[in-house]
């Protein structure tokens, strides 16, 4: 299932920040992880991912470094900054509140219990 663009605009950055929480990752790694861990719901191509990464970097939430990959090619790795960690914690709370509210409305969670 592909989610709406507006929803993706809100969820995508938090998802990327969350994926970077354990440690640094490069672009393709993030694409794969997003697709796998969200069962394809938050899958995104280069056209969405890289602008998003550049935006997060412009806001100071992530930082990057260039390094050489195993194949010898240059590769850019992204990692969370201190500011990014705070934002992730804040956004996580927000999403949890939204999810709980949606659950209470029977939109998310156990629909049978609604």
């Amino acid at each position: 299932m592909k989610i709406e663009r507006e929803l993706m605009r809100g969820a995508g950055p938090v998802a990327v920040l969350k994926l970077l929480e354990p440690g640094e990752k490069y672009g393709y790694e993030l694409v794969k992880a997003l697709a796998k861990r969200s069962d394809g719901v938050l899958a995104m191509g280069q056209s969405t991912l890289y602008p998003m990464l550049y935006n997060l970097q412009a806001k100071g939430l992530i930082a990057s470094r260039m390094d050489k990959a195993e194949n010898g090619r240059p590769r850019k790795y992204y990692r969370l900054t201190g500011k990014g960690k705070k934002r992730l914690a804040h956004d996580t709370q927000q999403w949890q509140a939204v999810t709980a509210a949606m659950g209470a409305l029977g939109i998310t969670g156990n629909l049978q219990g609604a």
Binding site: G27, Y54, P74
Partner: protein, 606 residues
């Protein structure tokens, strides 16, 4: 086909910072980068198109290209077919747009500030350009010849009944000329008996008795017939510099009326009045009662002719001539009370009492000038509306004494035009204020309420927001004369009251051999009524001193100081300091105006 890797290309594709360090790296060469990456043609094309479309700085493009190339290779190594990677890439145009936007956010703060400044600048100039275009697409249409309206009375005077040609001949005979840069006249007409230069003036007057007789003949005529205009008529060219009019930036029947020097007769008429006043003094010395009497009547005629065109300026010149006439009359009555016969005195009193200066003539003349300004600076939609196309009222600036046009002023014209009120709104506001000003001018000063005065309304507008000041700028620049008209008219009326009482007192003295105990004794035989104090509404004050009777108003301070006029810094009597000309709400309590406004005999300044 491989890309040439020549020196020139590498030099061109090397960042400046590398060149400065002496290295020719060619690392900005994205085509070479893609070629060396061995990426499939389809994937490389995708990267190339996106990078090219971003229109980023060259180093930024290289950064993006490297990242996208790495992404493809990471995908291939991760087991994803290249076709799938290309398919999942997304829309090139959209990708380029988003990458460009995001990358620009990463640029230095200085660049961001510059970008914002550039944007603001562009928006400002965009608005400015549109406003300028809006301005340039309209043009004023000058449809009414207000000069014809102002000249209507003079134009109807038959040539053989007009006074002006006779005045002109007399001026020429006495050597008056405005040819060349300066006004030329053989002698200064201001001197009075006792002045060192008086004998020369007296001789001049005697030698030009014929010309003065012509002036008297002209002043006796009903109308002047002088036509104001922008061109010197062939007849007037005998005394005036031939004048082909002023440069007219607009189309229309005539240039803007705001050109003040179109009333070229005012200076000569004033001079003639001065000469008649001097001649009256000469006749007084010689004991020539009839000539002195005729000279006073001539001054009245000159004053009347001066205001044939109902303009503010001509009205003020008329009042100035009248004030001088009252002064001359007083000189005769005080120094030679018995010079004139009873009949001459009574006739003079009747002539003075018949003077009728209508404030609306003076102010409505100004209104025509303003209408003329409107038709020259606004478009006309046929229903009274229109927009301004020449917002800076240059002609009004002339009146304000400033013709300065700085660059900022000119550059701000379109912006001003966009902010200024439309024609009908401006005219409605102006008319409303002018109608109120005329009513106020007719209202006695003791009923004048400063807080409700037109000048207070105008001042509030002047102190209001910048937007309002610009919006109603023409009105603000124009509504500057009415308070002067009001106080000038009241001053003239007070001086006329004084000379009428003075004549009445002299006639009474002749009959009874003494001054009356109260002014009421002059009524009705010598005066129709006791004049009111123009500043309080009560009867004017009267007392008899060793030097004779004194008639006075309590003056702007409102206190009865026993007929004592205020004094100036040299302790000289300064009558004007207590007159309505100093009338303002505050002036009533100011000690500098301590004293009375003496109406008879007026302590005229020398």
């Amino acid at each position: 086909m491989g890309i040439a890797n020549n020196f020139r290309r590498r030099l061109w594709k090397t960042p400046l910072r590398d060149l400065v360090r002496g290295r020719i790296t060619g690392r900005l060469d994205i085509d070479r980068l893609l070629e060396e990456s061995s990426l499939s043609e389809a994937a490389a094309g995708k990267v190339r198109n996106v990078v090219k479309r971003t229109r980023l700085w060259r180093l930024e493009k290289v950064d993006v290209a490297n990242e996208l190339i790495a992404h493809f290779f990471d995908g291939i190594e991760g087991g994803t077919p290249i076709e799938e990677l290309i398919e999942n890439f997304g829309d090139e145009k959209q990708t380029a747009k988003l990458i460009r936007r995001a990358k620009k956010r990463q640029r230095p703060v200085v660049w961001q500030a510059f970008a914002w400044a550039r944007l603001c600048f562009a928006v400002f100039f965009g608005v400015y350009f549109v406003a300028a275009l809006y301005l340039m697409t309209g043009s004023p249409s000058v449809t009414t010849d207000y000069l014809v309206i102002l000249n209507r009375k003079a134009a109807g005077v038959p040539a053989d009944e007009a006074a002006w040609p006779i005045y002109r001949e007399a001026l020429l005979e006495m050597g008056y000329s405005e040819h060349g840069d300066d006004r030329k006249f053989p002698i200064d007409a201001h001197y009075r008996p006792g002045d060192e230069e008086w004998p020369q003036l007296s001789v001049f007057l005697t030698e030009h008795a014929g010309a003065l007789a012509r002036v008297r003949e002209a002043a006796d005529r009903e109308k002047s017939g002088y036509l104001m205009g922008f061109h010197t008529t062939p007849d007037d060219a005998i005394i005036f510099e031939p004048w082909d009019g002023v440069e007219d930036p607009y189309s229309g029947p005539h240039p803007s009326l705001m050109r003040l020097d179109i009333l070229k007769n005012l200076g000569p008429m004033r001079l003639l009045a001065r000469l008649m006043s001097a001649d009256c003094a000469r006749a007084l010395e010689a004991g020539d009662a009839d000539t002195a009497y005729a000279d006073i009547l001539t001054q009245l005629g000159l004053a009347r002719h001066t205001a044939e065109q109902a303009t503010l300026v001509s009205g003020l010149v008329r009042i100035s001539i009248l004030a001088h006439t009252y002064k001359t009359t007083q000189e005769v009555l005080v120094s030679r009370p018995d010079l004139w016969t009873d009949e001459q005195l009574r006739n003079l009193a009747h002539r003075f009492a018949a003077i009728d200066i209508r404030p609306e003539d003076m102010l409505n003349g100004g209104r025509l000038y303003f209408y003329d300004y409107l038709q020259r600076t606004y478009t006309d939609d046929g229903h009274g509306g229109g927009r301004v196309v020449s917002p800076l009222p240059d002609d009004l600036q002339i009146i304000r004494g400033s013709t300065a046009k700085d660059v900022a002023g000119i550059a701000s014209r379109p912006a001003l035009a966009a902010m200024m009120a439309p024609r009908d709104e401006i005219r409605k506001m102006y008319d409303g204020l002018m109608d109120r000003a005329i009513i106020e001018t007719r209202r006695p000063l003791w009923l004048h309420d400063e807080s409700e005065a037109v000048e207070e309304t105008v001042e509030k507008l002047r102190q209001s927001s910048m937007r309002n000041r610009i919006r109603y700028m023409p009105v603000l620049l124009s509504m500057t004369f009415h308070s002067t008209v009001r106080t000038t008219l009241q001053t003239e009326a007070g001086l006329r009251d004084g000379v009428l009482v003075g004549i009445g007192l002299e006639l009474y003295r002749r009959e009874y051999g003494a001054w009356p105990g109260a002014l009421e004794e002059l009524v009705p035989g010598y005066l129709p009524g006791v004049p009111v104090d123009r500043l309080t509404g009560e009867a004017v004050r009267y007392l008899v001193t060793e030097d004779g009777p004194v008639v006075y108003s309590v003056g702007v301070d409102g206190d009865d100081d026993g007929g004592r006029p205020p004094v100036d810094q040299e302790s000289e009597p300064k009558n004007d300091m207590a007159s309505p000309n100093k009338f303002t709400g505050e002036a009533r309590s100011e000690t500098e105006h301590d004293g009375d406004w003496v109406l008879w005999p007026v302590p005229w300044e020398e």
